[in-house]
Symmetry: C2
Subunit: 702 residues, 2 copies
């Protein structure tokens, strides 16, 4: 990846005579400040925009680190091949017309990557917009705006968003350490970028615009590590049906279920933003200042309105606006008019000037009573922003204890070392996102959150063998395993199941009932009727069977009621408890996931569910279960006793480890998991494998 | 109110020599373009900023329509008095230091109003920032930015927000028809502004920044009328605890419960925005274009990323991005490259120029397939916004069928006749808010939504008399009426109640049970124990009593269990049904409200409730009840039959009319209302009056 961050020499292949052509603009941009060797290659060998030209990559008189390819799609394969033969280290393919247009040129993305890899080259693109490597002064994009150097690395799956962010970053005073347009991500992916940027000393903050995540398992593993070191801000587009329609025609990438993506990002410690504006707002703060260490904000300004709006935004975003201590309030009042409101929001009134505001900010920021300061003021004088910024920069101590963000309503935000916003609400929202990252780091730290070490080991090799053998014995065309097989697999993974047996006839049924009644006090009988969805509603479940006579009566009622009856499930009757649904799946866009939902007859109506990326430690599983709205059913409410939440958490954790460790289990569901005062017991489980359904292929690298 | 919209002559009283003093700046601003007679009054009678000066209002040689008062607080009462004597029609009091500072000057807001009203003058302020009346070229504020003339009327309860909006309106090309800084709203209120602006032909759109609503009953009545004519955009600050702390010290106004305010705005047809930015975004659209008539958006651009973000924002905001018809798609493809994506989002690719974009916008906007067009593009060339705006203005038909909003990522938004945004998400969000107003107008039209005519009349006079007599008989210090009295009042308002009686002894209890059993099949017995909260949990409710023996046994168990037992409620046992809680109250910040919540044992846990402003028609009450998350309990789910939703709606409507018609009923609750297949029956009701608690005063005008 180094050639993309700091190439030692660059050749632009396919620079046109026409100044508006992409190759020409790239050559012209590169020439501006690049410190390495630079050349263009064109059929006539002419110089372009003052950059020396050659007829072929072979004629270039220096060793080429990076080749930027902007030739027509038809010749791109040949050009990549020649680059490889000439010893180029890496290529950027600007050219479009491959997989994103249904391989209009007759060549797929995979074809290009295969050619590049044959010579050991990495390939960025195709259909991308170039790179910027400020470390070596290189702008190899066709952006009209020269970038500023700074600590932000930005990777974009959309050229248009790349262009927009480059332009706005400059306007907002955000400097870049690296910009990479990912295009079709045929080879170099956002995962590669994360790996490169985490070790790049020039990069403090990582920004990604993504429309899909190619390899979510790897993304989780890598991002989790990177996020513990540097903030990763992701704008993930394509939440909506029509947005995905756009994404599909735009980059031919697979759509994501947004709840799944949310779960992945939450687990990975990624700071997710909803809009481009929020991404830039957050970058503007983190470019120069640390994330808040806690939720406490001081709001300081010269007018009540913006302060109240900021306070509203703070509480809406889960931040706090604590009342300041009497001591601190008197220290503030030493500097400003007595009529000022000092409880927080701190309204210094319209007459105060920049230096008094800066004094008060300094006092409050270093008080230890807040984790960030938002100046939410109104521009009553010209150059209020510049003056205030200067005053703040002049007055504060060198090691600033907490982030300070300025918002000045009514005047345009200008270039500033510090974040200057127009709207106090935006500043507050951005700080709350940054604090979300702090909270994630706190939660992420500590062994209690490591699924691998927090619980006794499971013999995954044995579980995997069992899955394979059961899958091979499976006859269902959709690859749902028999209840029996599913039970064995869950048992091997440490999940406690209700005892059960299947009977195909009245006499078999009698035997099953007798055996189970000997072990337990009561049994349940469930009709097995193919295609019957809501068994309970249809009278297909009979409870409280305590003797064989009732069992026979129940059996006969099933026979009468369901002509399509194929058998009867006889099951240990699990005592009263709270019913949960626990599911898991391999999500193509977000990797292994686990879902916990409120169960029981009103499950669909309540729609109370939580999705998390797997695996989860027992602690994480407990917090997941307790984040259900109906969690008081588990912990007890209105005098009702609680149930064994720990047992539920243990089950969820094991299920999450199962789906994470055994990718061949593509989907499964326990419904219900009955959680009682003495434990958690799975009553019904369905498991589906992809063995025999598709060839199991290693996932393509993202 | 006319002197505030178009004063014929203006005097500024208290203009200082110092150019930075408020009075001086107001005089200077007024002089710039005011078409009427203008003077200043100061002790020395000197001219200020070129405006002729006089020693007293009596010396001014023309009849004074409006006096702007910026004198010290101590002399303000005298100055107002003199204005009245001199025949001034209305005053604007800039001076602060009255009720908002605990009447620091020794004078309250009410004192000032009393003086003004004695001479028949209206009073704006005190503690305000002035007015702008573009109809007569008057800027009587101390804003640094000269306003532009246009169709937006803006009233602000915060001077700072006023200043900020004035500055930004100019920057965004939003012109004003009127600006009024409300200050402490001692006399002139936002309700007065609404009444004035609805008939003002220069005003197309109304903007309000409010921190509280003084007279919510009147606001509802007035705003509902105005909103059916012109859009009212309200930014209501002070949602949060700390925000209200700010509001309290800022304008001494009462805090609001935000759900109550939300209900009021929903009923009034107000477009509520969450942030200052959203208010300006929406004003920018509605200043020049109509609100969308439906939810269907076309998204057109030159790059996939911003289009996908716009589509995500559209669905998140409840708008639709429909696939365009084949016919329309072919017409688009006649103008642009074949590789363009045309399904919607419409991605015309980076090579298209402003004229092609304008052509496509024209085709799509007039197709009848969408209700608004959002151009979500990236600035790839200089002056893209201006060029695109010019092209659109040049190409479109005179009567534009649907609103068209432009967003261009990466370049600053500039002045434009049409709304030009930087972020497509903001444009989409603003359109969705505007469409919310369209939807409200549709719902609001028609007799089905008029509570007064949609149902048979209730004899409110009789109900009010009953409330008064029951309240006079009430002995509870908190003014909760006896169950019996509450029952009579609800019965008079047409609410069906379960039959019940209270017994103080075993023998009384026996009689009650015998009587009720004769009428109904079974009774319930409830222990009456002062201070006992969750009766059911404590064993204080016994069901299914069908004979007097069981009744005696139940009574004795209560005596044993509850030493503090004061009596027993014997009640007709209402058949099985869905339990709802129906409450109502007079909210000081939002007026009469009705609340419907899911009932039953898990009510608190589900926290499923809806709040609406009263009164409601039966249709409105039905839609309120059906908007509960647990509404499927009422309509039937998973094979369970539904219950009598109409009966529930009728009850809710009557309760809403009761709280609306009888302000003396300050709080009441039916818990539960049991809704069965054959009707809705209130089982338990509590009513509280304020008669005898406070003197009943007419609400102060807002």
């Amino acid at each position: 990846m180094r050639p993309y961050l700091a190439p030692r020499s660059v050749v632009v292949i396919g620079a046109g005579q026409e100044p508006s052509s992409p190759g020409h603009r790239i050559a012209a941009n590169a020439r501006r400040a690049y410190t390495g060797d630079l050349a263009v290659v064109r059929p006539d060998g002419a110089s372009i925009a003052g950059v020396p030209g050659y007829r072929s990559i072979r004629d270039v008189p220096f060793a080429v680190d990076l080749a930027v390819i902007a030739v027509p799609a038809a010749v791109a394969p040949l050009v990549i091949e020649e680059c490889g033969q000439a010893g180029v280290h890496a290529v950027v393919v600007i050219t479009a017309g491959f997989s994103e247009q249904g391989a209009a040129s007759g060549t797929t993305d995979a074809d290009l990557v295969a050619i590049a890899h044959r010579s050991g080259m990495r390939l960025l693109g195709p259909n991308c917009f170039g790179i910027i490597a400020p470390a070596v002064g290189l702008d190899a994009t066709f952006s009209a705006v020269p970038p500023t150097t700074g600590g932000i690395a930005f990777g974009s799956q959309s050229g248009g968003i790349g262009l927009a962010v480059l332009a706005e970053a400059t306007e907002r005073g955000i400097g870049l350490s690296s910009f990479i347009s990912l295009g079709n991500r045929a080879d170099v992916s956002s995962n590669d970028l994360l790996c490169a940027w985490v070790d790049d000393p020039a990069t403090d903050v990582i920004l990604l615009y993504l429309e899909s995540i190619g390899n979510p398992r790897q993304f989780l593993r890598i991002a989790r590590h990177v996020a513990s070191v540097k903030p990763i801000i992701v704008l993930k587009a394509g939440r909506s049906t029509s947005g995905r329609r756009g994404a599909a025609s735009h980059t031919a990438s697979l759509a994501s279920d947004d709840a799944a993506v949310e779960a992945l990002f939450e687990a990975a410690g990624v700071i997710r933003v909803d809009t481009l504006e929020e991404m830039l707002d957050l970058a503007q703060i983190l470019a120069h200042q640390p994330a808040p260490a806690g939720p406490r904000l001081a709001l300081i300004g010269n007018s009540g309105g913006p302060l109240i709006l900021a306070a509203d935004a703070a509480e809406a975003a889960g931040m706090q606006v604590p009342t300041l201590s009497e001591g601190l309030r008197s220290r503030i009042l030493e500097r400003v008019p007595r009529a000022a409101a000092t409880s927080n929001p701190v309204d210094l009134l319209a007459t105060v000037g920049p230096s008094e505001v800066a004094d008060v900010v300094g006092i409050v920021a270093s008080s230890g009573e807040v984790d960030a300061v938002v100046v939410a003021s109104v521009g009553v004088r010209p150059h209020e922003d510049t003056n205030l910024d200067d005053a703040l920069n002049g007055s504060e101590p060198a090691a600033q204890p907490v982030p300070v963000v300025i918002s000045i309503a009514g005047i345009p935000a200008r270039l500033s070392k510090r974040a200057v916003f127009r709207y106090s609400e935006s500043a507050v929202r951005a700080l709350s996102r940054a604090y979300g990252w702090t909270r994630w780091k706190e939660r992420h730290a500590g062994a209690a959150n490591d699924p691998a070490t927090s619980e006794e080991p499971i013999d995954w090799l044995a579980v995997r063998r069992l899955v394979r053998s059961e899958a091979q014995a499976c006859v269902d065309p959709n690859r749902w395993l028999s209840p029996d097989a599913g039970e064995r697999i869950l048992y091997a993974a440490g999940v406690h199941l209700a005892g059960s047996a299947i009977a195909g006839s009245e006499s078999e049924m009698g035997e099953c009932v007798a055996r189970l009644l000997a072990e337990t006090g009561q049994v349940v009988m469930k009709a097995i009727v193919p295609g019957l969805l809501h068994k309970t509603d249809a009278g297909g479940v009979i409870l409280n069977i305590a003797d064989t006579d009732s069992a026979v009566a129940a059996y006969r009622s099933f026979v009468e009621r369901f002509p399509a009856l194929t058998g009867v499930l006889v099951q240990e009757q699990v005592g009263a408890g709270v019913e949960l649904l626990v599911g898991a799946r391999q999500d193509p866009s977000a990797g292994p996931l686990v879902v916990v939902a409120a169960g029981g007859i009103e499950a669909e109506l309540l729609a109370d569910r939580v999705v998390r990326a797997a695996p989860l430690s027992v602690d994480q599983a407990r917090s997941m279960v307790l984040s259900l709205h109906t969690a008081p059913r588990l912990t007890g409410f209105r005098g009702r006793p609680g149930v064994d939440v720990d047992a539920a958490a243990l089950t969820v954790s094991r299920i999450s480890r199962l789906v994470s460790a055994v990718p061949e289990l593509v989907e499964f569901e326990i419904n219900p998991l009955v959680v009682s005062a003495t434990g958690a017991c799975a009553v019904d489980a369905r498991l589906r494998t992809d063995i025999g359904l598709n060839t199991v292929r290693p996932l393509r690298g993202n």
